[in-house]
Assembly symmetry: C2
Homo-oligomer: 446 residues x 2
Amino acid sequence: MEGLTKIDDLGQPRVVIVGGGFGGLALAQALADVPVQVVLIDKQNYHAFQPLLYQVATAGLAADTIVAPFRKTLGEQKNFYFRLAGVQSIDPAAQVIETTIGLLRYDYLVLATGATANYFGDAEMQRHAITLKSVSDALELRNTLLANFEQALQLGDMEKINSLLDFVIVGGGPTGVEMAGALSELRAHVFPKDYRELDFKEMDIHLVQSGPVLLKGMSAQASAKALEYLRDLGVEVLLDARVKSYDGYTVTLSDGQRLITRTLIWAAGVTGAPVAGLEAGCLLPSNRYRVDEFNRVAGYDNVFAIGDIALMSGQPDYPEGHPQVAQPALQQGQRLGQNLALQLAGRPMQPFVYHDKGSMATVGRNRAVADIKLFGREYHLSGLLAWLAWSLVHVMSLVNFRSRVAVAFTWAWNYWSQDKGLRYIIGRVKTAPAVDAGTTAEKAIV
Amino acid sequence: MEGLTKIDDLGQPRVVIVGGGFGGLALAQALADVPVQVVLIDKQNYHAFQPLLYQVATAGLAADTIVAPFRKTLGEQKNFYFRLAGVQSIDPAAQVIETTIGLLRYDYLVLATGATANYFGDAEMQRHAITLKSVSDALELRNTLLANFEQALQLGDMEKINSLLDFVIVGGGPTGVEMAGALSELRAHVFPKDYRELDFKEMDIHLVQSGPVLLKGMSAQASAKALEYLRDLGVEVLLDARVKSYDGYTVTLSDGQRLITRTLIWAAGVTGAPVAGLEAGCLLPSNRYRVDEFNRVAGYDNVFAIGDIALMSGQPDYPEGHPQVAQPALQQGQRLGQNLALQLAGRPMQPFVYHDKGSMATVGRNRAVADIKLFGREYHLSGLLAWLAWSLVHVMSLVNFRSRVAVAFTWAWNYWSQDKGLRYIIGRVKTAPAVDAGTTAEKAIV
């Protein structure tokens, strides 16, 4: 890139949105008929549907079925402009952001940069763990676990083999629970056919949760049921357990217990992805921007933050902020779109009110838990009914029609065949530190 | 990998197949019920359907729809073993091959390593050109052309913009023709919607063919019709033209003409991918192994070569060898499977006879050419009928049922919507040499 940006000046106020996740995309769409120029910048040219990344990582869905190129999704929106770029800093006095491709003027700036994995400063963990925040992460995890099995075939030493077959998932939220469930289904139905030479009774899946329950934030019923499902599927769930360190081979827990794995999946919490340039006071210790009920960043009139990167004050039900999931981001994006229209029309903005529709998580075939809020009442579902509800809600939430058809079709196929067909290694593999080959002579002819 | 291989000894003759393209895969399948151990080694864990790579590169098909993981495709075959590895050399006296994961003994060795792009020793061309021999190549090309357009939006200088919008395809065989057609369809129906800010009248597609006709080897009718179709679609076809050099920006032709492009697609012939260790005499100048009518490599009893890497002597109709396409490879793999069974049963092997079913190439929507050989007669089709035949043959040739359904579905969708939906940049982008930003001041605020 040449560091030189060129963009039409429409003579209308320009809204620059940084990040095209659930919030940024919803906002861009909500501004379709508002007399503003919408400029979205993102480091990817597509929106990724994060809640299904774990299925990409476990060979259940193709990456392309859960992504939506921005230019395709929003291409017909006349006031929409996209730039493939990362943001580097903000100059709020000049109303300019610096990006990887140059300087961009704004009238309204909306930060929707989301959150990244929080390793709590553990650089060794960050180096060795795999996380699930992007499509590239998911593909890397899929490639790595398949490459691990290929490599395990070469080894004689049982501990070395186990280091490749075993998985440790850190974090008992939806991502951790769903990942553990998907891996156990692969272990039961798919891998034994592919790798007849390996003994899958040796494949252990550990789920490490720091608190006393899984799916914190969901109902007690849901938490208990998810635990029951996972244990039924043979996942070793460690509650009230914390990971102290991981060197790429040995996981050490706080109580001294050790687990051996070359694949640690980090799903243990996130931290905001803030941008340099705003006053320090508006950034909270969680790296989220403090925003008011109109999603305005504290101290600024024309800088907003939505979604995971925002923490809204004055919300008695959510003193620590709204949950960092899709729904609040989406609703904030929609509300902010309406509010910008109101403001341009000289009318007062409406405060954001979060409508919690409930939460759900799936563990496997016919097994899910759901807390659904309807007409002020909460319903707790589990089993087949929850699983159908989860599937339906996720298909309908996908951004475009093509994705909905493709995901529904793939799920039907996978369900019917008990198979996950996307077991190919294309692209990057996370290289674990070399395992000593042990005492067997190298270059033996077999 | 630890350089240490472990594999069951079944007490049966071991057939080691190097490469799982059309030939290697067909052979492995043909040996399903033969009392041998089949060991396939490949650098990828999947078979890729090369004839459709150009559609992956032009956002028409997802990569996963045209690949078939070996372990899934052949997983139920009890005598089948797979190892993810590359071959390094052969020791025919010891009957051992050296691979990236160790030494492997064989009773019968089958080289099915295929062919790679032939740059005729031009290292600069090899560094800057993109080819279409693997899934990674196709994805890299897709990523690169999309990234080019994103970058073109940033530039003011028309020559620089054109260097990003223009494409030069070298080679007028099926890959070159199909690629040119697919790019012209993207130019007509897809890109102008995505990139409203670019003027697609500026996007030139050049197809450079060294000989006087396109699709050499097909009928004169087919060649002429393909040329007509491409010119209708606005492709600039240069016949009897040769590329002299390419520095990543300027293409110089033999007659001195210059074309500017940052994306040169090399589809101008292939060379064999031989393995070290066999006697020099059996390797021909085209880097293909000289084989007899049983696909035995000259001078060896238990070393075979099939497909692109083999050149069969004593074939009056094919003095330069069979065409380096799917059909001969597939048929040789099947025949060799039968011949190994015969040999083990102490019966004489049957010579290979190539059954040419004809050739076809598609240029675009409803536009294709086909020479079909049926019952000793040759039929020349073009237009809609040829296009339907091409589509049907390609869908039916895909390795597994899932791919057939997915490709047929995607094609129906693309046809109906006149869209190619897979326009996302995931993974590697070919980085062209930096383009001088020209006189415009850097860091201008826009």
